[in-house]
């Protein structure tokens, strides 16, 4: 069993489906952060059998943590303050996703317009649709 030191202040992204940890690491652009980050893959989990996990040390939480709510409802965010759990929650799917997924509709303006953000909004039916063309994207969560 690999041991990674506990963090005093920061956030733990727990219950990431096994194999998705690196995708989340990249989506949150953690490679560009100067704070300490640990990515653990294929950790044994009583609840899910196997999971990935990310620990991020620091007072400032990464931006775009809300996109985790879109990626998988089982993900748990654990905020640590002074070595203790101050908050534990499942992130709620955000109202809007910017450049997280790409619209694949060949008739959409995003298919030809340069420097155009790919924006998806949560519809009343709980699905994400392209802001420009309303296309629902088949996404591999």
């Amino acid at each position: 069993m690999l041991n990674v030191e506990s963090i005093q202040n920061g956030v733990v992204i727990d219950h990431i489906p096994a194999g998705k940890g690196m995708d989340i690491y990249r989506l949150l652009e953690l490679e560009s952060k100067t704070q300490s980050v640990a990515l653990l893959q294929s950790v044994k989990s009583q609840k899910y059998g196997c999971k990935d996990l990310i620990k991020i040390e620091g007072e400032t939480l990464p931006e775009r943590l809300d996109i985790l709510g879109y990626l998988d409802s089982q993900i748990t965010l654990i905020v640590i303050r002074d070595g203790k759990v101050s908050k534990k929650y499942h992130p709620v799917p955000p109202q809007r996703l910017v450049n997280v997924i790409k619209c694949k509709n060949p008739r959409c303006i995003t298919s030809i317009e340069t420097s155009c953000d790919h924006i998806f909004e949560l519809s009343p039916s709980g699905r994400y649709r392209c802001l420009y063309c309303n296309q629902e994207m088949p996404v591999g969560r």
């Binding site: 008739r107 303006i109 420097s115 155009c116 519809s123 009343p124 039916s125 699905r127 420009y132 063309c133």
Partner: protein, 315 residues
């Protein structure tokens, strides 16, 4: 500043204001002949259109304004790779209002994000066509006297038919409307229209394939053309293009006051013999197109209605 990208950009009350204004313009066009003196409409049409572009230009000319623009992507800087965003920024320096048609869905929305002047969506691919929707609403209201508690049938290409999607989105906001979608399996209404529009509104709807069986039920029939330009596969187009043809024999099954609407152009889906039937409302729609576009230009330019002395709605 307001744009019109989707028919839902206007509330039910604002829609009513526009329809009322269009009726006033139709009743006394001369009173509106100088409303937009000195104003310029830019018609940015990236794909062919006769009726819509001419209708916009006629509307602006009838308000006393002038027009400029292009009709076809090959005539503009898009061929040099200019983005819609940049074109909108540039045209904002020359004109007071834009009407944009584009084959790509969402292009007018993109333009509105960068434009300093109002943008009207004149049709974006198979997506939205809000001015056509306003025309359809006006025509239905003129024929039926109201927009609620109607049984409305949509027939033909309901998958790519943008006018259908926009009209359903608008009509679902009026109580008691019931929708009949008559199409082949391949051209059914998109699932998002059902999931995000009809179901949340608890609007009753039926997906059926027989026009003849449905006709006696309907208060309004909206026919559409199977659009060749929306198909990637020519074989599919040829197989589906003549699947529904409304002729006098079928129309005899319908109620005596059931208007037949069609956004035009038609190909074979309405037989010419139907034109003489008083229920044919599609040429009335064309005329209404001019009045609706005059009403929208006047409103979005935040001009004063010379008849009422008031602005239509807060821009």
């Amino acid at each position: 500043m307001r744009h019109l990208i989707d028919s839902l950009d206007l509330s039910v009350a604002e829609t009513q204001e526009i329809l009322d204004l269009a009726d006033r313009i139709a009743a006394d066009s001369a009173a509106y002949a100088h409303c937009a003196d000195g104003k310029i409409l830019a018609t940015l049409f990236y794909e062919p259109s006769t009726r819509t572009r001419l209708s916009f230009e006629t509307a602006m000319l009838n308000l006393g304004g002038r027009t400029l623009g292009f009709a076809g992507a090959e005539q503009c800087s898009a061929t040099k790779g200019e983005t819609v965003a940049d074109t909108a920024r540039v045209v904002s320096c020359y004109a007071d209002i834009i009407a944009m048609r584009h084959p790509k869905e969402g292009a007018p929305l993109r333009a509105s994000m960068y434009s300093r002047i109002p943008v009207i969506n004149a049709g974006d691919g198979g997506h939205n066509h809000p001015t056509q929707t306003m025309i359809d609403l006006l025509t239905i209201r003129q024929r039926k006297g109201h927009l609620d508690h109607l049984k409305i049938g949509f027939c033909g290409d309901l998958k790519f038919g943008r006018t259908v999607h926009s009209l359903v989105n608008s009509l679902v906001r009026y109580p008691g409307n019931e929708f009949y979608f008559i199409s082949p399996e391949e051209l059914k209404v998109p699932e998002y229209l059902i999931e995000d529009t009809l179901k949340p509104a608890k609007a009753p709807y039926h997906e059926i394939s027989s026009l003849e069986e449905t006709l006696p039920e309907l208060d309004v029939l909206y026919m559409t053309r199977v659009q060749k330009e929306r198909f990637f596969n020519e074989e599919d187009y040829i197989r589906l293009k003549d699947i529904y043809i409304l002729d006098q024999e079928k129309l005899n099954l319908a109620k005596a006051d059931m208007p037949v609407l069609h956004p035009l152009p038609r190909v074979d889906e309405i037989a010419p013999e139907v034109d003489a039937d008083p229920r044919a409302a599609y040429f009335q729609q064309v005329l209404n197109g001019k009045f609706i576009r005059m009403a929208l230009i006047l409103s979005l330019l935040d001009l004063t209605d010379p008849v009422t002395g008031k602005k239509v709605f807060l821009c």
